[in-house]
């Protein structure tokens, strides 16, 4: 079985082609929209996607050495994401499905992040810890869905880290040579001082907005060295994440942890996870950076799993779902 998948939920228009046997990934072509300045403008991104789409699709087929007729299904991320961006992918996928008479497969973007992580790391039934600029989620597969056990009550971890370093003048760039500015600055703290800043964990949820405000206030007051604030902030934020993950493990009894999302690239965070995992005798698996970001391969792969379980959608019913939450997506293939 060969599936072509289309990703267009936010900044990346990606097309992936996958097969149900090794080497699995036949093509992975991406066009990333980088705004000239400021944040992503959904409309501009969608115009960019429309310009790039034909090239990206053609290049993907070419890399795989296939023609559209060789494909068994078209998968598309219908959400969650930004409306205008989502609609580009959905429109193209519907057209391809109708024109080439291929089944159309609806894919949830967050589920896809998890499925590609499982494929690449070999994780079978993990506790999923998804840490990015847009998400902080602790989830696990239970009875047909990825259920959310914990999340952030306000800002996501990556967003918190980025905002802090930007506000104190250390960024952009946020990440230099694979190291986040927060980690870099924290490493400079000689005394490894723990300042009096709030640590907020509520059950399996974390909260970072109080920490952000207090830390920025402390820096601006000039009463503490920046590197000591960085160290404290980093230790508090990472420890809180590990704590809720550990509670998730204690609660679900899962034997592996799968780290997904951009922040998982932090080696400091990873070694903390490993220390916790050793204690609880569980394995830690990390999605490599290449597949941690948005891409079409993850959509194609999830589409393949879905199609094998008979999940398809009529093109005329394939609406985009901007707020399609992880725990609202059915995962009939998920039993370990």
């Amino acid at each position: 079985m060969i599936i072509l998948g289309i990703e267009s939920t936010a900044h990346t228009f990606g097309v992936g082609i996958v097969k149900d046997e090794p080497e699995y990934i036949l093509a992975d072509v991406r066009a990333k929209y980088v705004p000239e300045k400021g944040g992503i403008h959904p409309r501009e991104a969608s115009l960019y996607f429309m310009r790039e789409a034909p090239r990206v699709i053609a290049e993907a087929l070419q890399t795989a050495g296939l023609r559209m007729n060789d494909v068994d299904g078209i998968a598309v991320a219908l959400g969650p994401g930004m409306g205008p961006c989502l609609r580009v992918g959905a429109t193209i996928a519907r057209a391809l499905s109708v024109y080439f008479n291929k089944p159309l497969i609806p894919v949830n973007h967050a589920v896809a992040h998890i499925e590609i992580g499982k494929l690449i790391t070999g994780a079978k039934d993990p506790l999923i810890v998804y840490l990015s600029g847009g998400n902080t989620i602790i989830a696990a597969f239970v009875a047909g869905r990825y259920r959310i056990f914990g999340e952030t009550l306000d800002i996501p971890l990556g967003n918190f880290m980025d905002t802090f370093v930007r506000e104190v003048g250390l960024a952009p760039p946020y990440v230099v040579k694979g190291m986040h500015q927060l980690d870099k600055c924290a490493e400079e703290s000689k005394e490894k001082k723990i300042l009096n800043l709030p640590y907020v964990v509520k059950g399996q949820d974390v909260s970072f907005s109080g920490l952000l405000t207090a830390a920025l206030r402390l820096v601006r007051s000039g009463k503490a060295k920046l590197e000591d604030v960085c160290y404290t902030v980093r230790e508090i934020a990472y420890s809180a994440i590990i704590e809720v993950s550990e509670r998730g493990l204690a609660h679900t009894g899962k034997k592996e942890v799968l780290l997904v999302g951009g922040v998982a690239a932090s080696s400091v965070l990873r070694s903390k996870f490993e220390a916790m995992a050793a204690l609880r005798r569980v394995d830690v698996k990390v999605v490599p950076p290449k597949y941690a970001g948005d891409n079409g391969v993850m959509i194609a792969w999830t589409g393949l799993l879905a199609l094998k379980h008979g999940v398809t959608i009529e093109p005329e019913r394939a609406y985009v779902r901007q707020r399609w939450k992880l725990d609202q997506a059915d995962v009939p293939w998920g039993d370990p």
Partner: protein, 225 residues
């Protein structure tokens, strides 16, 4: 640790929670649980010490206060902040989580009772901070609430809302197939103490809390500004 406390039957580890090891033993002849918050290797040692002693103190203080107020929580026997140790009454019974999972008859009534206990607790100005069905032990039909390390004194709607949100989310992820009747029973019990008006207010707050933090789209746009 002082040796004499360990005399008697052999200590037995009953659980390794996320925070603590729980050992069943006796204290001055009474069945007791020793909750020890062990150091975490992933935490900075100073932060670790701060968190362990803060939480030990919080848990001890709050179960003691709630016990004096007549709520079903374990009695406090002994505390050592430097060791991160609390010794408390052993509550013989089953976790509410397991009773719901086994669908024992009357589990809905137990949840309704729990709703009452939580409303009383909130009425006393305490939020639990980790409300799940694994933190409730049922003894002879009474739900005992345990695990108060993340609790605090607050009567703010925001904190009460988070407490209820945590409970509902735990029910959704753990008891997804009986989620509706469990949440309904919880709110019935809660309303019988706090009143319908208050419950309405809390439900609104919970709704608002659940929309936060989740969403990607607005965040992504804000981030680069």
């Amino acid at each position: 640790m002082t040796k004499p406390m360990y005399r008697g039957e052999t200590p037995k580890i009953i659980a390794l929670g996320a925070e603590a090891a729980l050992i069943k033993h006796t204290f001055l002849g009474m069945p007791a649980v020793y909750k020890v918050r062990l150091p975490k290797p992933y935490r900075d040692p100073k932060l670790d010490l701060r968190l362990r002693s803060e939480r030990t103190a919080t848990e001890a203080k709050i179960i003691h206060d709630l016990r004096l107020a007549g709520l079903p929580v374990p009695a406090l026997y002994y505390v050592s902040l430097s060791e991160g140790l609390i010794v408390m009454e052993y509550v013989e019974g089953d976790l509410l989580r397991d009773l719901i999972n086994r669908r024992i008859s009357g589990y809905v009534d137990l949840v309704r009772e729990l709703g009452k206990v939580i409303a009383l607790m909130h009425g006393l100005g305490v939020v639990h901070g980790d409300m799940t069905t694994s933190n409730v032990v049922v003894r002879e039909g009474t739900p005992y609430v345990i695990d108060f390390g993340l609790a605090k004194y607050s009567s703010e709607l925001e904190d009460v809302g988070v407490d209820v949100h945590l409970f509902i989310r735990a029910v959704e992820s753990t008891h997804y197939d009986v989620m509706e009747e469990v949440t309904i029973a919880f709110f019935e019990g809660y309303a019988s103490i706090a009143g319908e008006e208050r419950v309405k207010e809390i439900k609104e707050k919970v709704k608002e809390i659940r929309l936060r933090g989740r969403y990607v789209e607005e965040r992504r746009q804000k981030r680069n500004k």
